[in-house]
Homo-oligomer: 374 residues x 4
């Protein structure tokens, strides 16, 4: 057994989620993959830091993340702050020879991300970006369907990540709507999840042609206010994509997508098979094989089960629904394992960098109205 | 009761389908909407012409469509020939003061179609293009949802028409793969149906940005041959679309779409509601209203029934599945009614012209790699 | 080509549906299976008889069904009267050496039906009962799945036929609610369809244990009346069933089944596979095979297509939705073919008799509260 | 904050699941509902006891459950042993004035359960039975739909709990197949979950009429053996049920239900609405209201979200899938809360007793072939 001493920066929903997930990873996978030790937590809001210290039993807390990245008793810096701080903290952590686990996105630009990629490589440290949906057993199963050639050559892809959480025009303006703090809108927020899943399954994207729309142009500054402020980024993004493997496709995302709650949905068509999937029904993968006898051929509704990597940690038998939070448990397990056993992992900084490149190409295309190579 | 004396040109699947549909229109709607009289049928293949004459009781037959368009006992010229002949026959029919019912597409170019639009208008004759799916009671219901404002302002659209009928690379080359005879590939063949349905529901398209792909680059000249010939048009088309009403969307079509059989599928999101639909389950319309109480809110699976225009001709009660052929019965009913009662109809030549414009803009965009206005 | 001269008795929805279906059978299958000739139609309501004569081109009409059964120019007596008259007319027709095509149910009792079975056998005449759903290509496909052994030994069955057409307690009382005219309620009306489909697929039922309920105990005598009359038969029936093949199951039917429109739905589980199906999505058959590789195993959504018997008469390619009316076309085709070619058919009088036996056993069980053997 | 000192008896899957769930309850709901303290764990297998002690940080362990029930530092005895020991341990715990949390079933007979009900009442102690599925937010939502009258009077119910985990006849015999240790087969194992959910939603059952089947009559004694032993209890149970509220229904369960993995599925029809649900898609509740405007009426697919009790502990926004393990977290939260705050709970011993009564009535009916009152 090896301890992994964690320094958590940020105590919002994700900060708590990471901590809870580390504990569940321990219970589900056992301490041979590393025992998470909650060493220190920091938040500029001292009260929040203290609360999370108490809730999860962190030994110490601080108002200043510098205390974390420089602490000699910390092995892993876990970054869950607002996006704008990721780069600076991750860089400092690496320079202090800490392993880093950073919520997505890795930074606010592909350039910054590339710098972190190189630094992490030079230092030989674990560098993990928390793309929730990549660790989904369904995603891994679909990746295997593609990689094994069971679907043949991939021809066409369609995908979207739609939510209607921001549909109501009376929801006040927030950091999500501000270009400086958040960068793009639904593109980076939801779209990045879609791109990360497809990056894993299909490999590199080659070129994009995109269009963005801000539908709700102004929002109140507070819920009880008639004072309005301009929304600065995209409510909707739509794009054409070309993949290195020859596939082409239509992708999109909307944060005002009426009726859709967590609709990360896609269909991948190959010359020998096809698959479609939606996160709103996350335990069902629909897969079709042309080699089935034609009279009995159709999309199979495959329920996640013990044959699918990651699933069996949670359930004793197939077909018992897992949930979204289990993905985060799988993620923290992978983080622990990469530190204690040196196991490989998918969502390294380079992976995060590739997603950033896609996002930047989409923004560039939406401004130039042209195809942009990645 | 008024007789509508029909001259049918072309005796393939669609020729027979039109004739059968005229009879079913009579039985379902009654002769007050016009009694179809099978006056003459023509086909360059005399045997085929004779066979259809006998099957449906046409009074006469001919090898030459000129005999039809010039016959004084014919009221309506029904054109079901290969696409390349539509323009010439329709023009001759109009010039001879015949009503025209022409299978889609109206012609091989927007220019030709425009000429027919103007001629029909000048002559004051019925000019109908047979877009199968527009007469679908589901399509009409969805059109009403949009037009009534129940879905609010339309924000995002996604749609596809996918089939895998041509997936097998061993299927021999045919007129469908030849640019000269067929024009585009899946774009005009399947895509035109998708565009016609969305044209009806959403109104005019404003601009497109498209990409096409020919995946199966060669096909055998015959099923038993190793002699290969180049496929000249698109297996796949993907595009971004902007509508006049402000909506944006991703559209696509593939004729090699593994697992999909008749997947004309779309989702329309508005600020107050959303709808999604697939022709593979043609009796189910899924509709969502934001005004529903949130605890009970979700997409409603509405089964077509007596409340939906067109349905009650076929079934005595709601929820009893209608089929694709019923759409053609509704179409021929509309043709008869427009002639005998002067009722208005959706798919006139101008409607067909607009679909042709969309197709041409998509082709142009796929060649120029730029946005093209319509 | 052989003509089949038809005498139609009854001109309601089903009378018209039969006539239209005979014509569609001709157009879809061709006259080599027999050309239907509309010889005479009768209805006690002379006006209705005249109207249908005109609509379908019957040569003659009459107020008296006796004119039909005794006419020397009639080959087939087609019975679509209210249920209470089926027995008498069918018997007279057989005695006059006419082929008989009788809407379901064959009669009002198993005893009457048995008498007709024996008489038809003695006379060597075609004796067909119109169970709509048996001719469904999905039903035939499922029958084949069972009969071929692909599903293994059948273990458990569940099934229901639910509609909510009579849910509204303000719908006036009608013949359907009267024991003398209609016999049972939903049991005979909807249940008989469920039993006919399962009889075909699974073979003979062995014993039942049933319970019935009349939920809406009184209904107004007219829609505008406060005068109420007692409903005399079942709104709901539920039962346990044992089949000769060893399967056991739960079956039910309700005519006040809120939300269900045409929900003839069932699941059949065998030791090697399983299938589930609903008439509300009549083109989808869901089938599961244990022999599939476990990681990819799931219910396959098989769309009806050219591989399924009956389908290809209607569509040129797989996956294009057929509808309920097409079943009736297949049925009339089978009637014509049995007369002109002597082909075998499923729904003979003996089949109808077996369904009657099931219904009587269910009624007996619901009164005795005991298991009843069939 | 109040500590709840836990003594866990049994260290199998459920023992670990309870412990993990107590911790998650703490993290999701906070310590104001009680802080679980892992005081002692026991298992006759000392190694297992030690392992769980270490995994979850129990202070002490023992080979003997008597050490737990008599320990003065324990507040709650958590029973996760094989079913046959539940009664004895629960009784001893209550006699020693411990709160009790017992996995389902409460005991092996209604008589034993009744004794425990009375004892717990007399002692005034928390008495909780762990029916997983009752704490499902979907179950609570459906309960509310019924109780509020939104569905009107309930008329018909259908339900099943099917799994195919034991379909393979080569799976060796185990305690689950033995009458003495396990009591009934699928009836008690899976059926009890179905009955518990419906007991909660619909209230008391009044009478049953049942049939059981053992399809796989012998199983090998070990996986590599040809030595066969008789299966002593039911693979399949089917039954008719009458509820006190007037509803009637068909229920069933199979542990050899090909293709079904975790198919706890039911439909409830009322005079004003209906609902259907399946645990295989646990985040979707399908609900229908007759009061919706008819043209737009259909089953609504409601995704679980913040409006549904229990959900918001797990996710920050609606529509993000929760999983089966979250039900157990909700359950342990309710246990903690009932101890520290005296809050009421659904699954008390009396609830468990009622489920036992249903199971006994079903067994009696399946032997007598008669209706049995409960």
């Amino acid at each position: 057994m090896k301890e992994v001493r964690i320094g958590l920066v940020g105590t919002g929903w994700m900060g708590k989620s990471h901590s809870k997930s580390f504990l569940n990873a321990l219970y589900h996978f056992g301490e041979e993959y590393g025992k998470p030790v909650f060493e220190m937590v920091s938040d500029i809001n001292e009260e929040s830091a203290f609360e999370v210290k108490k809730k999860f039993g962190f030994k110490r807390y601080s108002k200043d993340w510098q205390d974390i990245v420089t602490d000699k008793n910390i092995d892993l810096v876990d970054i869950t702050t607002p996006n704008a701080f990721h780069y600076e903290i991750a860089k400092a952590a690496l320079l202090n020879n800490k392993h880093v686990y950073c919520e997505k996105p890795l930074s606010l630009s592909a350039d910054q991300s590339k710098e972190l990629v190189d630094l992490a490589k030079e230092k030989g440290l674990v560098n993990y970006v928390g793309f929730n949906n990549v660790m989904n057993p369904a995603t891994k199963y679909i990746k295997e369907l593609v990689e094994s050639g069971k679907l043949g050559d991939i021809t066409k892809v369609s995908g979207t990540y739609d939510q209607d959480a921001l549909l109501d025009a009376q929801i006040p303006i927030s950091w999500r709507h501000m270009k400086k703090i958040s960068g793009s809108g639904t593109l980076g927020d939801l779209g990045s999840h879609l791109f990360s899943v497809l990056q894993f399954i299909l490999g590199d994207m080659k070129a994009v042609n995109a269009l963005t729309r801000t539908v709700i142009k102004k929002r109140p500054v507070r819920s009880d206010s008639t004072d309005m402020k301009a929304v600065e980024n995209d409510d909707i993004v739509i794009l054409l994509a070309q993949y290195e493997n020859g596939a082409v496709g239509t992708l999109s995302s909307s944060r005002i997508a009426t009726g859709r709650k967590n609709y990360l949905s896609f269909e991948i068509q190959g010359t020998k098979g096809a698959v479609h999937y939606s996160l709103e029904n996350l335990n069902d993968v629909h897969v079709y094989f042309t080699e089935d006898h034609s009279v009995d051929r159709g999309f199979r509704k495959v329920l996640l089960g013990n044959d699918h990597e990651g699933y069996s940690a949670f359930q004793p038998a197939s077909g018992i629904a897992i949930g979204f939070n289990d993905f985060k448990t799988l993620e923290t397990h992978e983080v622990l394992s990469s530190i204690t056993k040196g196991t490989s992992y998918i969502c390294d900084f380079n992976f995060g960098f590739k997603v950033d490149q896609i996002i930047e190409a989409i923004l560039e295309s939406s401004e130039s109205n042209n195809w942009v190579s990645i």
